[in-house]
Amino acid sequence: MIEVKNLSKHYGQNTAIDNISFSVEEGSVVGFLGPNGAGKSTTMNIITGYLSASSGTVTVGGFDILEKPNEVKKLIGYLPEIPPLYPDMTVEEFLNYMYDLKKVTIPRKKHIKEICELLKISDVYGRLIANLSKGYRQRVGFAQALLGNPSVLILDEPTVGLDPKQIIEIRNMIKELGKSHTIILSSHILPEIQAVCERIIIINKGNLVADGTRESISQSLGGENKVTLCAEGSESEIFKGLKNINNVEAVECGGEKEPGVFEYYVFAKKGCDIRRDIFNYCSKNNYPVLRLVNSALSLEDVFLRLTSDNNIEVNPTNNEESGDKK
């Protein structure tokens, strides 16, 4: 549905995006992940035809954005980072204006009413946009993108400014829309991408650094196979015992966490799940297991690894420790 080839964009001396290529199949939900200023919005602006690329091509539904801009624009519903709302219009006026502007042919009243109900903005329908809260504005912006039922939705940080309940509602809505639409969604909120998207594209400093499902990305990074164990009993005994389990490469002791309870980091060979072995060993020797966690790379770790400047050592256990304190 969307084909992006060798896309670059320069702002004077600055390179906003550098030779990005990817394609999105019809009906998939793709998450664009990256720190601030990574080039997410620029890429989206180019796909929607708001900006032009310095080089490279974008085709949507088979139409080139430069050759057939109007055809492409008809296919796309776009919610920019800052919702493009006129403060001097009411929601009603604004949606009707966008309906005309987008040359929508679906029966007007019913269509607008449906969208308002979907986004729960019917109760502010007659109010001036200037007087709406951020959450409502965001949803009116979303409503505008859905007008005309475009087959591609491009959403630039759609849940910014919403309260937690609304965020969940919008996420569920995006999931629901994803069944019948092609969606590109950008965010720097990791759980959001994780919750909604099948596929993740991570960009950093204008470069595409990863593309795939969450699992495939963390696997390709070669995350270490590490298990964290908290067990009660003699430290040295357990330490020795763990080392003797099959496929275990190394064991580290993490110190005493509670009286008589020690933490151990067990490193296993790649591809081996040693959690059962550890459990069996502990139960056989009567060491109560208080916690047993597989510390695979979370999306957060993947993200930090791929986007941090000085390759900050990502240590999954650190996260867990801070979690313990809470």
Binding site: S52, K73, P80, I82, P84, Y86, D88, Y97, M98, L101
Partner: protein, 234 residues
Amino acid sequence: MKAITKREFKAYFTSPIGYVFIAVILALYGYYFFQVLMLRSSSFISSVYATMFVWGMMFIPILTMRTFSEEMKNKTDQALLTAPVGVTAIAAGKFLASFAVFAIAMTATLIPVLIIGFFSAPSWPVILGNYLGSLLYGAAMIAIGTYISSLTQSQLVAAISTFGISILLLVIDQLTSLVTDDFTVKIINWLSFTTRYQPFTKGILSISSIVFFLSVIAVFIFLTARRIENKRWR
């Protein structure tokens, strides 16, 4: 384009700009109408239009300053430019909305003249000539103002620049007396809006003047469209 014109036109009247613009134009017209025609017992309507017209041109920047600057500042141009509408339609739509407000103000100035028409026979060719001339001159200024607005995010900068150009065009004729070079005088005369406007005030429907003003409008709508397009490439 229709949707854009409709929205822009409405926007003039949801804020006070449209009302204030029309009110001020009509107040000035009323004043000069009274001063020239009543106090001097003259029927020289051209003088009313000519004086009022100068003021009118000074207010046009107020109409045009917001057209694109506001969109850029509010980022609403993202909706406009990602909608399936051509850039020329956007530029023309904006121009038409500003022009409609100006045309309403100018048309309202005909009301006192019409009333006089019931009681005597004013020189209709001169009156309509003045009316049409003002409309065309104003439309050309609006096209220029719209273009300037597309150059900057700041409404103030847009207004002041348009104001400057407006004044320059009003006084450019006076430069001819300072310049001796024939060629330069020729260029100034060619550029001068006022020399094109003059025939109308005498009640002459000058085709070349109409073509001149329409060309200026077309050129600046075209430039505005190019400017919007060009912004994508920066």
